[in-house]
Symmetry: C2
Subunit: 191 residues, 2 copies
């Protein structure tokens, strides 16, 4: 499989009432997802938000930990944000990956909803066929159906054992990356 990139998408996502909105950035998401991404060797981590004021806030947080005094206090937080970039939209993340890699990434969106034709995570590598992969994660109440349908694939939801279906996005990132990389590590070991 090619390099994996992730994007934490703040628009377009649903709110509790099912309306399409832009959510505000949760600073904790930046740190948690940065740590998870670094653990699994993700090639790049995009934070997307259409509002310039929100992007500036994220840039300031990243600067504080990566270049400013925060990094002296916590080298782990410094490293965890080393691969983070701030862009306006998922499309801008797509364009950046395409420019970096010289080939358009395979876009795999994630959702807690059951979508017809959803791709099992273990089949992602075959579906991507050697192209880099851009994984989209929605904040709020999840990526809109329009965005899910625009992606090359929607990954199968993380099925729990009951009807509760509200994992924090931080946990969803951890679980999907573990399934992707752990599955790969396991098959490499077995060969």
């Amino acid at each position: 499989m090619g390099n994996i990139y992730i994007a934490l998408v703040h628009w377009p996502v649903y709110n509790r009432e099912g309306e399409t909105v832009a959510t505000s950035v949760t600073p904790l998401d930046l740190h948690d997802i940065g740590r998870i991404a670094l653990t699994y060797g993700v090639a790049g981590y995009y934070v997307t938000n259409p509002y310039e004021s929100q992007r500036r806030l994220v840039e300031e947080i990243i600067y504080h930990w990566r270049e400013g005094i925060g990094g002296e206090h916590s080298p782990q937080r410094q490293r965890a944000l080393s691969g983070a970039k701030v862009v306006a939209t998922a499309e801008a993340a797509f364009d950046d990956v395409a420019a970096l890699e010289g080939v358009e990434p395979f876009v795999a969106a994630t959702t807690a909803r059951r979508m017809p034709g959803a791709l099992p995570t273990r089949e992602l590598a075959d579906a991507a066929g050697g192209r880099p992969v851009l994984l989209l994660f929605g904040t709020g109440y999840g990526l809109t159906e329009d965005l899910l349908l625009a992606a090359d694939a929607a990954l199968e939801p993380i099925a729990g054992r009951g009807d509760f279906n509200h994992l924090p996005v931080r946990a969803a990132v951890a679980i999907y990356l573990d399934r992707i990389f752990n599955g790969n590590v396991r098959s490499e070991t077995e060969e």
Copy 2:
């Protein structure tokens, strides 16, 4: 495999300097881990802290969401904390599980460190042999070696692809539970 219980341990754990300390409760951990536990059908979720003031704080947070006005605002948070209990120590969690189940649980501790004889997560069900399982997760810089050695097993760490080794405990809970239950679901499907 029997029922799975988890304990979020605030003492004894290491701090950054490697000293044994009690950490303070992070309210976000309660909600995130509650959601993850409910998703995977965990039978009980213990928050352990030796300080009465900290236990009282956690009780108040749980009460707010489970019985108080918080639950009206967010039924999901209400449900996510429905299985949470507050106790002083991991031993107290062990005793509670033993009383509930009528049999002592198999205690599996988690750590980011490589321990000799660590148990691969996929072998946990066999090692537990039908007994309930109590999973221990350390806050701060992880469970102390004494506690790891006192457990029936230390699970193999979550190996990433680089040398970065500092997942948030919230992410570690998500990944271990997914490996335990997803592994089981998969083998049931194959049979």
